[in-house]
């Protein structure tokens, strides 16, 4: 690489020298340039005329973001469950309908549905329960017309509580399914 560059440089130098030698040589030395003024003229710096970016569609804005950025915005809202249950609650249905609408809008998105539980089940039981919660969430979205090919489920049991408290307030938050966008 270095060798190549130096050869190119050498050739360029030769060419410059050749051209220079072609110029007629000045007979006299030019007069020295006038000394620089101590206070040069003030030049106003103006902004170059702004380039107007084309307007991005929502879709384009979405595609310009990374998966991480999209997930940080959590466009899909989590839902909660009753103690020891995995049926979709009435209050969760409207949330899933909004989630479903979003998934229809961004039809290339694939999503991971994670099932979580509160601490009041054994480790093994909670893994099975979290899986059931994720499945019922997937089934509900499926009934809204979302293709099962776009959804994957997983259970975390009780290993990932949102709230590490030990009372109903915390438990209610922890019994949930939440979404992770894994493809767009």
């Amino acid at each position: 690489m270095i060798k190549k560059t130096s050869i190119i440089l050498f050739v360029c130098a030769l060419a410059v020298m050749f051209l220079a030698s072609c110029k007629p040589k000045p007979k006299t030395t030019p007069p020295p340039p006038p000394p620089a003024k101590e206070q040069p003229k003030v030049e106003k710096v103006e902004e170059a005329p702004a380039v107007k970016k084309p307007e991005l569609s929502e879709e384009e804005i979405f595609m310009s973001k990374s998966l991480e950025e999209i997930n940080l915005e959590s466009p899909l809202k989590m839902i909660h469950f009753d103690y020891d249950r995995y049926e979709i609650r009435d209050d969760a249905k409207s949330i899933l309908e909004a989630d479903g609408a979003w998934l229809k809008k961004y039809s290339s998105v694939k999503v991971l549905i994670e099932g979580h539980c509160d601490e009041r089940g054994t480790e093994e039981y909670n893994l099975a329960l979290g899986e059931k919660r994720a499945r019922s969430t997937m089934d509900y979205l499926g009934s809204l017309g979302i293709s099962p090919d776009r959804m994957k489920i997983i259970s975390y049991g009780k290993s990932q509580p949102l709230d590490t408290g030990h009372a109903e307030m915390a438990w209610a938050k922890n019994r949930r399914t939440q979404f992770l966008i894994i493809e767009k």
């Binding site: 009041r120 054994t122 093994e124 059931k132 975390y156 992770l180």
Partner: protein, 433 residues
């Protein structure tokens, strides 16, 4: 601790059995160590350092302490109170005065000596004597550097228990567990007594539910290391390699058969939580249960012919046993509505499991011979994930008894509760074979 005063009849009978061992070792007559039988009185006087160096003295103290703790934990031996040794002359390893030791009611005597070894090493020599029979049983010599004093002591204690009881000793066994002490849930190991806690996995995701292979060389565990997967992996401890076994769906609750041939686990690969059986290397996965309910937490019988597991097929979560080929299903738990995490004892006659009532989890032992159930833990806490020691006398489990979830051990008869961990939260312990 039980009292030293032993019933004369029992003392005589144990001594007789012991003499049999010495006279006819080929017949494999061992001390019968039944539950409720008083422990064997053992003299463990301070070890003698044959060198004035501080390290020899340190080694003498440390090794003596570890052996003393091990043998006390075994429930087989009962160490004589130290003050008894003041009644007799000091131990002279070259000239054991058996009558002296008999006079303070010792059945067995361990004489330990420390001398200088090569370089940084010390040499520890332990000799075991039958006091009544006035005879030498066996001796062992170990050369070790400071960091291995504990291991040398555990090896000696293993030899003592194995020679006198014929049982599988536990002092060099390990407990695998999950800890979040370094930020997120990772796989860790520790000695049976909670010493030498060591981290095994290093990643930013959750590692979960470890289970030992029968030979103690591998650990199967669940890991969320790949996005969207709760895979079951196999860690080869000697090669330091991790290979996936099953990654479709949520895969968990691994359990190796004690003959080293099979691995059972749970998976939702076919949609519902079912039990699968693979070869011990994770190959040749076959489905064992076919049911709409969730089947979880398999545990092999010691013969490898049956598997205990939990299922909510009856509407409540109960313990079942099924033949390893998938036939002959029967329910074995009836009380309560949330019984989970069965662990089959290495002796084969018992299953320890978790029973939940509201937010309280306690451990229960089901005796398969008598169908009797005994409550092992009694606390206002969540005690779960039980696993037996290989001698069937102790159970390791996780509990939030002291706040954060920690790993504890307890003896089969609800005595001797010990906490083994304290940094971060620690759970899902599994005791090696």
């Amino acid at each position: 601790m039980k009292r030293v005063t032993m019933k004369k009849i029992l003392l005589t009978s144990t001594l007789l059995l012991f003499s049999s061992l010495v006279l006819f070792p080929q017949q494999e007559i061992y001390l019968t160590l039944k539950e409720g039988v008083p422990a064997i009185a053992m003299a463990l006087p301070n070890f003698i350092a044959h060198s004035p160096s501080p390290r020899a003295k340190e080694a003498a103290v440390e090794i003596h302490q570890v052996i003393s703790d091990d043998l006390t934990y075994s429930r087989i031996f009962e160490l004589l109170p130290k003050k008894y040794y003041e009644y007799i002359s000091l131990l002279d390893p070259k000239n054991i005065k058996f009558k002296d030791w008999e006079s303070i009611q010792a059945n067995i005597l361990l004489a330990g000596e420390i001398s200088e070894g090569e370089g940084e090493n010390i040499i520890f020599e332990g000799k075991l004597y039958d006091v009544k029979g006035a005879r030498f049983i066996f001796g062992k010599r170990y050369q070790a550097t400071k960091s291995l004093y504990r291991l040398a002591a555990h090896r000696m204690a293993d030899e003592i228990v194995h020679t006198l009881s014929g049982e599988k000793p536990i002092f060099t066994t390990k407990i695998a567990f999950i800890s979040d002490r370094d930020g997120n849930e990772e796989l860790y190991l520790m000695d049976y007594d909670g010493q030498n806690q060591t981290r095994l996995t290093f990643n930013k995701t959750i590692d979960y539910m470890p289970a030992w292979s029968a030979d103690g060389k591998k650990i199967a565990f669940t890991s969320y290391r790949k996005v969207g997967e709760a895979g079951l992996y196999l860690l080869d401890l000697e090669a330091g390699k991790i290979v996936p076994i099953s990654t479709r769906g949520t895969n968990y609750s691994p359990s190796f058969s004690r003959d080293g041939k099979k691995l059972a686990f749970c998976s939702t690969m076919d949609g519902n939580s079912e039990i699968y059986v693979a070869n011990a290397d994770g190959k040749n996965i076959k489905r064992l249960t076919f049911n709409e309910a969730a089947d979880t937490a398999p545990s092999w019988s010691p013969t490898g012919r049956e598997i205990a597991f939990a299922s909510d097929r009856s509407g409540t979560l109960q313990i079942y046993i099924i033949d390893a080929e998938g036939s002959n299903l029967r329910r074995v738990s009836f009380g309560g509505n949330h019984n989970d995490a069965p662990a089959w004892s290495p002796t084969g006659d018992r299953i320890v499991y978790v029973s939940r009532v509201e937010n309280i989890f306690d451990l229960y032992i089901l005796n398969l011979r008598t169908n009797q159930i005994t409550k092992l833990t009694e606390s206002n806490a969540r005690n779960e994930s039980p696993s037996w020691s290989p001698d069937g006398r102790h159970i390791v489990f996780a509990s939030n008894l002291d706040g954060a979830v920690q790993v504890y051990t307890i003896d089969y008869d609800s005595t001797n509760l010990r906490r083994l961990t304290s940094t971060g939260s620690n759970k899902l312990p599994d005791w090696s074979n």
